[in-house]
Amino acid sequence: MLAPNLNLAQLPRTQQATVASIEWERMSPTEARRLREFGLDEGVDIELLHRAMLAGGPLACRIGRMTVALRAHVAGAIRVAPLAG
């Protein structure tokens, strides 16, 4: 059983999860608005797809049916709950 309180950057690759909560205040207003436009919201299903080669690089994740590239500090502000199975 995975810890129930992970952030997106800590989620194992391709592990299905849902968004538990979002710390909007840890992002810039532009980032927060863009993510809302990408459909990020509590309860949406989410999945980490790819990490970049070098440490500190961006992450690719699936938000709903959209694939989005974001940086690690943004991923760190998204708390996720892994789905069983």
Partner: protein
């Protein structure tokens, strides 16, 4: 007289909006500009089934009516009917990606709240079917209370139904008044969109099998960067090797035209002007059209296929090291074709400081206008040897020139972000569209627009500068025993400049060529062509090609210094003009010109003296 109704084409980025625009309007397109902003206005005509004409305007893609860039602001203002220079639209076609309903429906709902007549084009319905996604169009239409048409823009499917639905929407009595209020709270639209998507989607398996599969390689930590490098390498090799045959055809045509003119007209001033100034001057630039088009084919393919954003993803870590983001990679790659669309593409960068930095370094990306200069010098001085199977020495030198420009840009960005454009990074947040097979038609339209711009330049700026230069180098006529290129007006100006350029290995003719090259870089080639042709008229009869002439007169050190100069040399006038427009003033263009001149001078000098030290002088 009633003008044709105006219909705005709106949608999220990556919904296939431009493909739908191309499919609906075909070649009947006009590219203009909105007044006061450098946002391109793409419009076209289409005829409804009853023959009524409609003007369709393709608006920049946006996720909501809360703009974060000048492009998105234009979309909002046109849709609301308050954009200067644009009529209030009578109806809208909203394009949504069928495979990403819950997200695209949010924008549809926000647009619908404006109350204008509208039709929803549910695009890429074939992709949805391939994913196993089943959408009930009747339910969707009823839930949205909008006409919904399924389309596949790249295959031109659903267009008749779309035109019919548009005709119906337009005859419903247009309410084309400006709108003041926008419901900007996208969260309730988002929740409603998700509810409707859940109702209308009958079956939804795990998404995007093909895209996920390709991404497993394209975004792989090791394989991904290797693939990107390989693509870039093939691109630059192709620019040289695929263009050989078409360049030969153009040279053949140019030679035939010159010979025919010489044979037809009597030997006088007009014939000289026509042959040396117009035919050979413009010809020496047009001959590089094949290379420029090959470069653009690659860039258009990378953009249309969806790979470009993956490249941005792979580059983000490196770019963040110098204070930029992966987003800057896209304008910078476009700048390899031309800095002008590159600088305009920086509008998609949200952060103002990051955007400014990208504008300032964009001219360091080797644009296609530099190719003519590189090609002539490389062709004349670098032997066409194979270093490895399939890898020629000439192509390798070209690659080094490109890499030098990139390295210069990296250093410039690093310094700028710590001095002139200091500030916190803007982050990196991008949608990665699904992969698509680009439609040949869309690539062809994009390519035609680029070719047209290039030929128009060749026909106007380059022609004028070439002819002016020919006149300045031809008069006054030198007495016997004195070189025409030194006695003429241009020659005297160049002699003044030569004092400054001599220390970095430039000779008199090169000093002469760099002046008009500021109007347009490729003119350096026709300038050298003109200068040597004018001197040649006295000594060696007959038209020898430029490369041969140069090889006999320049040392290798001089040639390399000239190449180094052009890696950094200040950009053409049009680039400066665009930079001024995009930065709203002269301050930043002047910074750009200043630092590029300094870099060019230092680089050319260092190259020259290093080469001389190795005995190549």
């Amino acid at each position: 007289m009633n003008p044709a109704p105006l219909v705005a084409l709106v949608g999220n980025p990556n919904a296939g909006k431009t493909a739908l625009f191309n499919a609906l309007t075909g070649a009947r397109q006009k590219v203009g500009n909105y007044p006061g902003v450098t946002v391109e206005r793409h419009s076209g005509r289409l005829a409804l089934d009853d023959g009524r004409p409609v003007e369709l305007v393709d608006l920049p893609g946006t996720y909501s009516l809360d703009p974060s860039s000048p492009d998105e602001a234009v979309t909002r203002d046109v849709v609301l009917g308050r954009q200067a220079g644009e009529r209030v639209p009578d109806a809208m076609i909203v394009v949504a990606d069928a495979t990403n309903l819950d997200n695209h429906l949010r924008f549809v709902l926000q647009l619908k709240s404006l109350g204008r007549p509208m039709v929803l084009a549910l695009n890429m319905i074939d992709m949805a079917a391939r994913d196993g996604l089943k959408i009930d169009l009747a339910v969707l239409s009823a839930e949205l209370d909008l006409p919904v048409v399924a389309t596949v823009a790249v295959r031109k499917r659903g267009l008749d139904e779309l035109r019919a639905a548009l005709a119906a929407a337009l005859s419903g009595g247009a309410r084309s008044a400006p709108i003041d209020e926008v419901d900007a709270d996208i969260r309730h639209f988002q929740r409603e969109a998700r509810r409707i998507a859940r109702t209308a989607v009958v079956e939804q398996p795990r998404s995007r099998a093909v895209t996920r599969g390709v991404d497993r390689i394209a975004l792989h930590p090791v394989a991904g960067p290797i693939l990107l490098l390989a693509i870039l390498f093939v691109m630059f090799q192709a620019v040289f090797s695929w263009s050989e045959a078409p360049i030969g055809w153009i040279e053949g045509a140019q030679g035939w035209l010159a010979d025919t003119t010489v044979a037809t007209l009597p030997d006088n001033f007009l014939r000289d002007l026509l042959v040396e100034g117009v035919i050979n001057g413009v010809g020496s630039v047009v001959v590089f059209l094949p290379q420029i088009l090959i470069l653009f084919v690659f860039i258009l393919l990378l953009e249309a296929s969806g790979y470009m954003v993956r490249a941005a993803f792979l580059m983000d870590r490196l770019m963040s090291g110098v204070g930029l983001s992966g987003r800057a990679f896209i304008p910078l790659l476009s700048s390899f074709a031309c800095a002008i669309p590159g600088i305009m593409a920086t509008r998609s960068i949200d952060d103002p400081k990051e955007r400014l930095t990208t504008i300032l370094i964009a001219p360091l990306m080797t644009c296609s206008a530099r190719l003519p200069v590189y090609a002539v010098i490389i062709g004349a001085f670098i032997p066409a040897r194979q270093v490895l199977p399939g890898v020629g020495l000439q192509g390798l030198v070209l690659l080094v020139l490109y890499l030098t420009g990139i390295l210069g840009a990296v250093i410039a960005a690093f310094v700028l972000r710590r001095t002139a454009t200091k500030g916190v990074g803007g982050g990196f947040l991008m949608e990665m569209p699904r992969y698509q097979l680009p439609s040949i038609r869309d690539i062809a339209i994009g390519l035609w627009q680029r070719a047209y711009v290039f030929l128009r330049r060749a026909g106007t700026i380059i022609l004028q500068v070439t002819v002016a230069l020919w006149l300045l180098t031809s008069y006054p006529v030198a007495p016997a025993g004195v070189k025409q290129s030194e006695y003429s007006i241009a020659g005297r100006i160049a002699s003044g400049l030569e004092v400054v350029l001599r220390p970095i290995g430039f000779n008199h003719e090169m000093s002469l060529a760099v002046i008009p090259a500021m109007a347009a870089r490729e003119v350096a080639v026709s300038a050298l062509q003109t200068v040597y042709a004018i001197d040649a008229a006295d000594e060696e009869q007959g038209a020898q090609e430029l490369g041969g002439r140069l090889a006999g007169r320049w040392s290798l050190a001089t040639a390399l210094a000239f190449l180094a100069w052009f890696v950094f040399a200040p950009q053409c006038l049009s680039t400066i003009a665009v930079a001024r427009r995009e930065t709203n003033g002269w301050k930043w263009p002047l910074v750009m010109i200043g630092y590029l001149f300094a870099l060019a001078y230092i680089a050319a000098g260092a190259t020259y003296w290093t080469a001389v030290a190795f005995g190549l002088g």
